[in-house]
Symmetry: C2
DNA sequence: CCCATACATGGAAGCGCTTCCACCGCAATA
DNA sequence: TATTGCGGTGGAAGCGCTTCCATGTATGGG
């Protein structure tokens, strides 16, 4: 049964008739090696199907640069939203280009301490935290300082990358005002996600300037909640003439909810979202929204972390108004 | 500057006044340890912020069960599609429950050999390949036999998990026929993805039974291609009265394309998709489609791999017709 | 023909950890 | 009191790899 054993560098060296040191030099491409030795080792590697053990290698080189991506918030809501998937894919792309591995971690909302456990070993090149809560970010192990970035929130202690949802919201709400709406309601994100605060601020500010009173309802970024919230809003403030949701998914739900209520969009009520997801242009009426360059943001975070760039503070990416039919 | 060094188990042992062996026993929870030793070690761990080095641990235990997820196909199309993200998230969930790490790999379509490189070391508990091409699966390193599963294709050599798109397609197309459609076109997936073959078979079969002639157009699972394909189809076969796309995203694109053409849905042409994504119910008209339990499938694949269950052969998950407004 | 120089090579140390094994002291039993 | 058994413990080996260092072995110039 020894045939089932995976080959080790010793096996390769023995098969090639060289020392393990030489074999290592050839395999890694570092250090001198005669053509003869090179050939024999290469042949042995192929013959034995040798694959270096990453653990052993990382142990000695202390250079195992792996990019860890931690997603916080274990809610079902995340499943339907393409957001996390897009972040994952984009960050994984960046990592793949640099030939560093990616590890994925799924952290419950209520156990921020688990972030610390991610730093398993020095094999960690960096950590990207998606949708982090504030307490979670404070549990980042000190060995990792300077190698952590946050996506999707304006974090304090670590470099963070997010869309400028203040400016984006401002743009959307101003557009609503410009097109004659005054009684504008807003559906926010989940309360545990601090990223919405700046958006709500912007919304309040525009309303104040235009003489409207704020009508804020808490959402959770899901479509189901959007439909529900639409009903709530129309019941509580029947004269509402516009609804702005901080998520396209929710806005699509609003469209659905209003449709069920027999409210016409945009005739009776204008609807706007945020994110400009692929489906925003496909709904009927097509959704007015503001862009969210998720891939750029995630890629930037991954790059910053892998480059050990100390981009402290928050970086906000521009969001552009996309006017379609719903508002 | 020694303060910056990350603590090792030796440091912990020294601080706790015990041997490294004892410290290890306490940290891992394996083997006997007196309450006194336990307390002292625990305290030392906390004080030093010690985190075990996963590489070193994996090296000696040979038990580093990490779940590798490889996504094949580097196309932009994957980005918009929630599919891959959902697979990732679901598999990561399963892994998280069992406390095994997840590593993510992004493989170009044209270099299947890179699959072999994933088996870096014995730290690999299993490999889930998403959307694998046939040649890619054949490059799986022999050390990994029995620890690989495929998602999204009826693979030959490794256990595979996919939706039963033969039955699903059958259900959708029969529904179209039942509602009076005869001149039904189909938009498939990309040609490099073999999973569509069975669906096309089913489509052909139903058409043959109902006396229609097949009208097959190649797609790529994107919405943009759907809009394009709709135009192509209507130009080539102007009397088409139904379009079935093997992807909801594409079907939504078809809706858009037909709308631009001034074709009414479902009045003039019925449209049906496949997958029942979250947005399918939100489009206007709401999309008729067939379910695709992506999360179940991905979870099953991850479980099979982590359990070392030798579920050879293909497992197909049922797909249920969802009739909405578009067909 | 001999010595300096370069390169190729193997021996050996050690990365941080787990675990086998031998050991020791203690309580329980004869 | 002598013997057994056992939980707790430390020493030491070794996982597979890289890399320092010393030792060859060809090559050039003097």
């Amino acid at each position: 049964m020894t045939g089932e054993r995976t080959a080790t560098l010793d096996d390769v060296a023995r098969a090639a008739g060289v020392s393990r040191a030489t074999a290592s030099r050839v395999v890694t491409g570092q250090g001198p090696a005669s053509p003869r030795a090179r050939d024999r080792v290469t042949a042995a590697v192929a013959a034995l199907g040798y694959v270096p053990d990453a653990s052993a290698r990382a142990l000695v080189t202390r250079t195992g640069t792996r990019l860890a991506i931690a997603v916080i918030g274990h809610t079902a809501a995340v499943l339907d939203d393409p957001y996390v998937g897009r972040v994952l894919i984009s960050a994984a792309h960046v990592a793949a280009e640099r030939e560093v591995g990616v590890s994925l971690h799924w952290l419950p909302l209520d156990d921020p301490g688990s972030l610390a456990r991610l730093a398993d070993g020095r094999g960690l090149g960096g950590l990207v935290v998606v949708n982090p809560t504030r307490p979670a970010l404070e549990t980042v192990p000190r060995g990792l300082r300077g190698r952590v970035a946050a996506v999707g929130v304006g974090a304090r202690h670590v470099p963070s990358f997010d869309v400028d949802n203040r400016a984006g919201t401002d743009g959307v709400v101003r557009h609503l005002v410009r097109t004659g709406r005054r009684r504008i309601a807003m559906i926010t994100g989940p309360s545990w996600l601090p990223c919405g605060d700046r958006a709500v601020d912007a919304y309040r500010k525009v309303l104040r300037d235009s003489g409207g009173e704020p009508r804020v309802v808490t959402g959770d970024f899901t479509a189901a909640r959007g439909a529900e919230a639409a009903t709530e809003i129309m019941a509580r403030w029947p004269d509402t003439d516009a609804v702005f949701a901080l998520s396209d998914l929710t806005a699509l739900g609003v469209l659905d909810g209003l449709h069920a209520l027999g409210v016409r969009v945009p005739g009776d009520v204008a609807v706007a979202g945020f994110d400009d997801i692929a489906f925003a242009g496909l709904s009927r009426p097509a959704l007015t929204t503001s862009t969210h360059p998720v891939e750029d943001i995630a890629a930037a975070a991954a790059q910053a972390v892998l480059d050990r760039r100390d981009t402290s503070g928050a970086t906000f990416y521009p969001s552009a108004l996309v006017v379609r039919d719903s508002a």
